[in-house]
């Protein structure tokens, strides 16, 4: 029985969050009526010329810097030529041999230790214009194909990784971390359903044989609509390639590179017609567009403007706030607004541990179970901080703190109003002592049990106390009971 290594490389197309297209002023908004966001430039009418959208280039630069890429001082535009009806000029303005960035990396890890932390190298990231959408009539041979050119000319950043991932899980982790990074720096909404983020995966196996390692043919997988789908497609493909290897012993180079499409319902990849010869895109420099020069100060300014990136933020949450790697990961993975929320709560309470517990548990659960985002959550960070303070001060029994929080969310009220509506009032210390004394007097067995070392006997008294006054803070009551028992004659 031989063993194998899975080799995965990813190509990610990210739609940049610009208001207008890459080479004209048309809107990039998703979901408009077909062919309403077009102009003579993006539909390639004769005589029109492209003008580069500076903002798109800035967003691309930002991404490239965040991916630790080298930014060459000179980059140019090339035409990638192929005929297709959703590409009105029959060439796509892209970047070929001098991309705007190259040789970067993205670190990935798994807080639960499912794989060793690793650095995935980025081969290059370049800007290009998107094509339109073709809608084919499924009744074969009948009906016409429809073309929507709204998307034509939308700025895309193509990010190509080196084949550094060794499992479907690592591929998924790369995508998750990449999406997080892109969202943090605000360059894309990364909405896969709307096509803002598209993934193609290249995968093959390096198989241990008696003659050494042998590589299987590389397969490119397309049509994956979620990260989970990427993971499943890769898992399927690894199995399929392993079986195929055992049957055919076909090696890399024995067959042309094949493209397979992922069928999410059937859970299989299917071969798409492999081209007999590799496509010749006849790339050449676009004579309509001047090359772009990027000075070292431009890249430096971008670096300055980036703010704290996820990896650095995780480190800071661990080192400065004493969070566990797991909690830091959970928080950071929620995105920048949640982290800001946490940081505010931590600052207002001076208790990052409590803040982390509340945010990772109650706040995130609420977000998950409701329609709320962190921005629309009725409990502002200051309100949550107030609740935490009141709990610590004993004004809110810790046993009822969650109830108070939920009331704050549901009724959109502050801590005081929530407490009032729940009938929570701080129990006076004297009142608490009196209650304690009364219950001890009525339950002498509890005293003897505790003295005999059965501390949990107090539990019964706590229950009775809460029945008499629901505001009793069980922790404080327990402490008082034990004190009084010790002092009792």
């Amino acid at each position: 029985m031989s063993d194998y290594t899975t080799i995965v490389g990813l190509e990610v197309h990210v739609q940049l969050a610009t208001a207008s297209k890459l080479f004209c002023g048309c809107s990039t908004k998703f979901g408009a009526e077909p062919n309403t966001q077009t102009c003579p430039v993006c539909i390639g009418l004769p005589g029109t010329l492209p003008v580069m959208n500076r903002n798109a280039f800035q967003l691309a630069l930002k991404t490239a810097v965040a991916l630790n890429c080298e930014i060459p001082a000179y980059t140019k535009w090339d035409r990638k030529q192929y005929y297709y009806p959703d590409l009105p000029k029959n060439y796509q303005i892209s970047q070929y041999d001098l991309p705007m960035s190259q040789h970067g990396y993205l670190d990935i890890g798994d807080p639960k230790g499912a794989f060793e932390p690793k650095r995935v190298r980025i081969l290059r990231a370049h800007l290009e214009e998107d094509a339109g959408k073709s809608l084919h009539d499924e009744v074969a041979g009948k009906g016409d194909s429809l073309i929507d050119l709204n998307r034509t000319g939308t700025p895309l950043l193509e990010i190509v990784s080196e084949p550094d991932m060794r499992s479907p899980l690592e591929a998924k982790a790369f995508l998750t971390e990449l999406k997080l990074l892109l969202t943090y720096i605000g360059v894309s909404d990364c909405n896969m359903q709307e096509g803002s983020l598209r993934v193609d995966a290249n995968v093959n196996l390096h198989i241990d044989t008696a003659e050494g390692k042998v590589a299987t043919p590389i397969i490119e997988i397309k049509n994956m609509n979620s990260f989970r789908a990427v993971e499943r497609a890769l898992e399927y493909e690894v199995g399929r390639q392993w079986c195929e290897w055992q049957e055919t012993h076909r090696k890399l180079g024995d067959a042309p590179k094949q493209t397979r499409g992922w069928d999410d319902v059937a859970g299989v990849t299917r071969g798409q017609r492999s081209k007999e010869e590799s496509s010749d895109y006849r790339y050449f420099p676009d004579p309509d567009l001047a090359p772009v020069t990027v000075g070292p100060q431009d890249a430096a300014a971008i670096r300055e403007s980036l703010g704290e990136l996820p990896a650095a933020l995780r480190g800071r949450l661990e080192s400065d706030f004493g969070l566990s790697a797991y909690d830091a990961d959970v928080l950071v993975n929620q995105g920048s607004p949640v982290v800001t929320y946490f940081l505010d709560v931590a600052k207002f309470t001076g208790d990052p541990k409590a803040a982390a517990n509340w945010v990772t548990q109650d706040v995130l659960r609420t977000l998950k179970e409701s329609e709320h985002t962190i921005e629309s959550l009725p409990v502002a960070s200051s309100a949550l901080a107030e609740l935490i303070r009141k709990v610590k001060a004993g004004e809110v029994p810790s046993s009822r703190a969650r109830e108070v929080f939920q009331t704050m969310v549901e009724k959109r009220v502050d801590v005081a109003a929530a407490m009032q509506s729940l009938g929570i009032a701080a129990v006076d210390e004297g009142e608490l002592i009196a209650l304690c004394q009364k219950l001890l007097a009525a339950n002498p067995k509890t005293i003897s049990d505790v003295r005999a070392g059965k501390l949990q006997a107090v539990g019964a008294l706590i229950g009775q106390a809460k029945k008499q006054n629901p505001n009793v803070d069980p922790t404080r009551f327990r402490e008082l009971c034990l004190e009084l028992i010790e002092k009792a004659p």
Binding site: P46, G47, Y83, P287, D288
Partner: protein
């Protein structure tokens, strides 16, 4: 001298003084078009009503002392390659026979703003590919000096229109000589500006890195006036240069002192017609008499210019013309016929049991592309698309396109070096005067070689101008080409005007 024989500058004086109305002037040219264009064939379309209406409106504004533009009331012909909102813009191709752009080219907008009167759209080689205007899908244009001869091309319609007195001014485009060469063959002034001087927005592209729009006129002054109107930076064309435009029409009459003129050794080798050579040498003598000094210079890579050009221009063209596929606009093959043809092909292959043939049978989309382009383009356009596609293909790119780019740099450097020693370069515009219609059409390579003196300026991006400097025994015009460093159009105009004022070649008119 008939009114239509006068220059635009002269007309403008009359219009400004009130001695001449634009309606009268426009009607004169429209009458002239009606009288002679059935023989010349310079216009693809004439908009008599629109022109007269416009002329009337400008006359009114002028009479009311309202603000009018730089060219107010001057009739003007436009090569049918510049997009004009709502007007059919054909590029002399079946492919665009019905194409009405929903936008104005920047140059059209500027001319409109300057209150020029558009009289019509002129014939050209299809997509500006050619040097004879014979490659038009619609008609042949004839040289007003000899109707058996070609006016040159690709802007042959514009050159012939001016030469025949059908318009005092015309717009052309020059990718490898397409303004200067027909100007030379038709005995008018034509000028190609520095690459980037005039916005290309709305100019239907042939070869984007070489195309420039420029003026035709009866005199250097006219050309200066027209360039001044159309030049300038345009944010819609990022290859247009963001530099101020001098007032050429103001400075054109100032002679240049201590002018150093270079003549290129390589331009006087074999293949140059004797009559052309002596006319050009006589022009050098004129310059000497005006105080200029003549200097022999070398452009060592000029012998590669035609080869370089015929790799770069078709490469860009093959890409620029890919959009004419029948999908979104322009000509599309008859779909019913296309589907029937495809079905017949399928039946034939099935009957023959030709499995491989069936496998390779076109999809309906591919067959639509094939037929549309086969029917929509003429032979020269197809030839250049094939040349360019080949030059850009994997495995050939380095040997052709990349090598051509390297040569282009060397050709540009030749000019840089030369302009270190001289102010202007002067020489022939074509190896011979106008050739007979049909004479070259069977020999594309001979046709390409006519471009030998013109393509270098496009490759180097420098301005060039052609003005009449003589007449052959047969009475055909001979042109003198002047070239200047990039952005030195002012020097070019002044230098050309010096010669024009010292000679009478500009006064000659074709007899029709």
């Amino acid at each position: 001298m008939a009114l239509f024989d006068q220059t635009a500058t002269e007309h403008l004086k009359g219009l400004e003084s009130g001695a001449l109305k634009s309606v009268e002037l426009t009607q004169t040219y429209l009458d002239r078009i009606r009288a002679v264009d059935n023989r010349v064939g310079a216009f693809l379309s004439v908009d008599a009503d629109g022109a007269l209406k416009r002329a009337e409106e400008i006359d009114e504004r002028r009479a009311k002392k309202q603000r009018v533009g730089r060219l107010a009331g001057l009739p003007l012909a436009v090569k049918d390659i510049l997009c004009e909102r709502g007007k059919v813009t054909t590029c002399a191709s079946r492919m665009l026979q019905q194409f009405r752009p929903p936008y104005d080219a920047t140059v059209i907008a500027k001319l409109r703003e300057a209150d020029a009167v558009f009289v019509g759209r002129t014939n050209m080689d299809e997509f500006a590919m050619g040097g004879s205007t014979e490659n038009s899908a619609f008609q042949v244009t004839r040289n007003p000096w000899d109707l058996e001869r070609s006016p040159g091309g690709s802007s042959g319609g514009s050159a012939a229109a001016v030469a025949a007195g059908m318009a005092p001014l015309a717009i052309g485009t020059d990718t490898g000589g397409s303004i200067r060469q027909p100007a030379g063959l038709c005995g008018v002034v034509g000028m190609k500006p520095t690459y980037g001087r005039v916005s290309r927005f709305g100019l239907i592209a042939f070869a984007s890195s070489l195309d420039q729009i420029g003026p035709f006129g009866q005199s250097v002054e006219d050309a200066a006036l027209l360039l001044e109107t159309i030049a300038g930076h345009d944010p819609r064309d990022t290859t247009s240069l963001d530099v101020p435009v001098p007032a050429y029409s103001q400075s054109v009459n100032k002679p240049l002192a201590n002018l150093r003129i270079g003549w290129v050794r390589e331009h006087f080798g074999g293949g140059l017609d004797k009559e052309v050579e002596s006319a050009v040498r006589a022009a050098f003598e004129v310059y000497k008499s005006l105080g200029a000094t003549l200097h022999e210079i070398s452009l060592p890579h000029s012998k590669y210019a035609v080869a370089t050009y015929y790799v770069i221009a078709p490469s860009e063209a093959s890409s620029n013309l890919a959009r004419y596929d029948g999908v979104h606009f322009g000509y599309r093959t008859d779909e019913k016929e296309m589907l029937a043809e495809l079905a017949a092909d399928r039946r034939r292959l099935e009957t023959a049991g030709d499995k491989a043939g069936l496998e390779h049978l076109d999809s309906a989309l591919v067959r639509m592309y094939r037929r549309t382009r086969a029917e929509g383009f003429g032979p020269e356009v197809k030839r250049r698309i094939m040349l360019g596609t080949y030059a850009l293909s994997a495995g050939y790119y380095d040997a052709y396109y990349l090598k051509a780019l390297k040569l282009r740099r060397l050709i540009r450097k030749d000019f840089d070096d030369a302009f270190g020693k001289v102010d202007l370069i002067a020489g022939p515009i074509t190896p011979a005067p106008a050739f007979k219609i049909g004479e070259m059409s069977g020999d594309p390579l001979a046709m390409y070689l006519v471009d030998i003196y013109t393509v270098s300026a496009n490759l180097a991006g420098i301005p060039g101008l052609c003005l009449p400097c003589g007449r052959s025994q047969a009475g055909l015009p001979i042109g003198l080409q002047l070239q200047a460093p990039a952005l030195e159009e002012e020097r070019l105009f002044c230098g050309a005007r010096m010669f024009e004022q010292a000679t009478d070649w500009d006064k000659g008119r074709a007899k029709l």
